[in-house]
């Protein structure tokens, strides 16, 4: 089994989220994206991006689009004015 890097401390990931929220919102400028798609733009692990997206969602800066039953991932869009 390949060695797994330990998960980065949650508090540290969230601190980074406060800094990266602008880049994250900018990554949604061209249109809605899934978490893996955002992670690719930000060059960040998907687990961390998931935490940041959920934080922005909680505070009304991103919203989710309806997801079809066949789709694996939700797409998130930037909320106008956020």
């Amino acid at each position: 089994m390949a060695a797994v890097a330990p998960l980065r401390d949650l508090s540290e990931v969230l601190r980074d989220g406060m800094s990266l929220q602008r880049e994250l919102l900018a990554s949604l400028a061209e249109g809605p994206k899934t978490i893996p798609e955002i992670a690719e733009v930000l060059h960040a692990p998907t687990r961390e991006v998931a935490l940041w997206v959920m934080m922005l969602r909680r505070y009304g800066k991103v919203a989710d689009l309806p997801k079809g039953a066949e789709e694996e991932y939700t797409r998130y869009r930037r909320v106008e004015g956020a």
Binding site: M1, V4, L10, R15, M18, E72, Y73
Partner: protein
Amino acid sequence: MTEGGRGSDFDVLVIGGGIGGMESSLSLGDMGFHVLLVEKEPSVGGKMILLSKVFPTLDCASCISTPKMAGTQNHPNVRTLVYSEVERISRRPEGGFEVVVRRKPTYVDFAKCTGCSLCETACTVALPDEFNADLAARKAAHIAFPQAVPKKAVITRKGLSPCSHECPAGVKPHGYISLVRAGKYDEAFRQHLEDAPLVGVLSRACYAPCEEACTRAEVDGTVTIRGIKRFMADRYYAAHPEPEYGPPKERTGKQVAIVGSGPSGLTAAFYLGREGHSVTIFEAAPEPGGIMRWGIPAYRLPREVLARDVMNVTALGVEIRTSTAVRSLQELHGYDAVLLAVGSTGGRKLGAPGEEAPGVVDAVEFLGGVRAGRPMDLRGKKVVVIGGGNVAMDSSRSALRLGAAKVDLYCLESRLEMPAHRWEVQEAEEEGISIHPSWGVGKVETGAEGRATGLEMVRCSSVFDAQKRFNPTFDRTVSERVGAEVILLAIGLRPQTSPFAKELELNRGGSVKADPETLQTSDPRTFSAGDAVMGPANIVRSIGQGKRAAFYIDRFLRGTPLQGIQFDVRMPVADKAAVVAQASSRPPREVERAPVAERIRAFAPFERAMTEEEARYGATRCLDCGGCSECRECIAACPADAIDLHMATQMETYKVGAIALATGFDVFDAQKKPLLGFGKFPNVITGVQMDRILAPTRPYNAVLRPSDGKSPSNIGFVLCTGSRDEQVGNRACSRVCCMYSVKQATLLMGALPTADITIYYTDIRAFGKGYEEFFQQAQEMGVRFVRGKVARVEEVDHQDLEVHYEDFEGNGGVTKARHDLVVLAVGLLPHQLPDRLFQGERLERDSLNYVREMDEELDPGRTNIDGVFAVGAASAVRDIPDTVLHSGAASAQIAAYLKRRAEA
């Protein structure tokens, strides 16, 4: 009705506001008893309000809880104290108990807060959300969860962050760093301006004690606090050549005279000006700034930066009369108050023969000449600087920049004792200055025309005596001759107080005698601040004194007493060890500097400003030591003016007749089973987390897995995690894990109709009413039950998981299965009450460490302590129906007890 209380404030104290505590409070309240309910979290509701649905009926947990929560809060006989903890309970001789309750500061005035959440949105500090079982973020300012009762915000403050705690001026580095991190640069500047007006000066010339205190230094190097400040100050000043405000409209009609425009005088003027007093600063020099203008070399503090800072003060209508020396307090008789902020810039004498010779120059005068544009001509000269402090460093480095051929610095102190900062000494040496520690001046040698030609230096054996007083001793048998054309004396400074010696009490060294708290002098109308009081200190300490003086002068002018009120009371410093553990390595990026050869050619600043990217990188290194950063964004956002960061803990004492312990249970920490991968693999979660994911107020928009937001399609449940397990010291069956897992599996079948769901179990305990049917129903819906013991969970590709288990059925043996999400059904543990909660009495525990009920069948809830009852999950593992039943029974016991006492 206070029957059983007899002289008590309340008949019953209920500790814990979960479903058990609420039930008991409501039933006792309905019976007419007066109840005090104490809950440690910011809301009542306990664990139940955070659940999805309840087994076996699948009723919505919050639909059942919310009316009870509101009922408790509004019941006329129940007083609820949230965010409070019972510290001590002692028996009163006359019967009943005395309880001490610690009311934790919420930093929000609940009477004003409307629960609008605007503070949360604005807050710049993100923390793990314990109400979402760490699946998501919340902010330092937060409302616990959407249905919280009371629905009020609280602010997490774990102490003052070390940087902010250390700043003598009360600047809050953590605050502006968190703002810079969030990209709120102008807000960062304004936050600093609130705390000290000389933002530019501090960003260039502060010795930054905050950086020495910074927790990050213990990980991989301090947060570059001053560099970040320079970034935000430079940026703000470039965009705002003038302040954004003018004089305050409301005037007090009071006149204040400030003597001296150094950091303490300017700062006091700023705060007094903001209060609407008319402030006039008298300054002997032709430009304001004191040492900042005439002492600190331009390569450390350019003139324009100071000038812009001064505008922060004058914009308030403060008048600065330059070239106006005040020679007596009499000259200021028309003013209502006076602040002497005259600093400490007088030179000291060596006391060595020859020191009056031409060529021996006071270092402060020398530096003043440079900054006034009249530098000494040192080109090609050999210069000796005497002194080991900051002035000596500035003088020698300035001499070098004026073209001196060679600069030697001699000081009494050994290298380690030198008062200059280590980085300053290092920079000076880099630039080519030779430092000679442990030498004193024997005499100044003079030539034919009486000019200084050199010095005789003698070995200094020690500088301080046993009492740590300055008292140098010399070994005159060791001496050295040094040639010098110019000798700069930087051997200490004297306060400039001589004009006032007859009017005010002074200390021996010439500093003004002032009350250390209020800074009032022997003349009640006159206050004094800065180096005039402290002796030579530094800018940031002087700013702190200027603020302090302004605070007390304002009170003096308003006729309010000065005594009995403290300025700048700080909360204790946050625990560094707790945050160090949260940091992975991320070393600082050094602020770029010009190469030495370029540096020493001119007086231009050689430290380059950080780029935006560098400043943000620097700011993300901050560990948010104290939780809330004091950035004040919430205060700006709150429409109700509800936030008060100065709140403090309150201790309250109540007399009560009886006590109900409804403190519930704790949950097993799944990291104690490391082979199951919780905390290591993002897609291994606990049952508590799964209940949050399924709850209406869930952390995500749907059922998703934490690693990447994918809808899981194949979920495995591992039952009995941390229950019936001697290895982790819990042999009890947790009773609820089977049923809550079956519940979650059933709900997941609804939410993800195509998903495969497997439950690994050793045996299913479905003992309650309707539980067996509930279990069967899940099987019929297609949930797979696999009888087997899970040995370990491993991560495979796509962050999926492989569950390795011993198959008790089928083919037997060890086998494995792949899932994209694994849920560990963690067990329940007895709740740990605070040590020594009961004074002089010991609360008995049963063999599983739950609170012992003396007779479960006949006397439910009664403990070994007379008058103390256990309710709900405090005395045994109980699910919600059992907890509700038990609470009712215990309440009846409590009522009977109170009646008996009333009648006795």
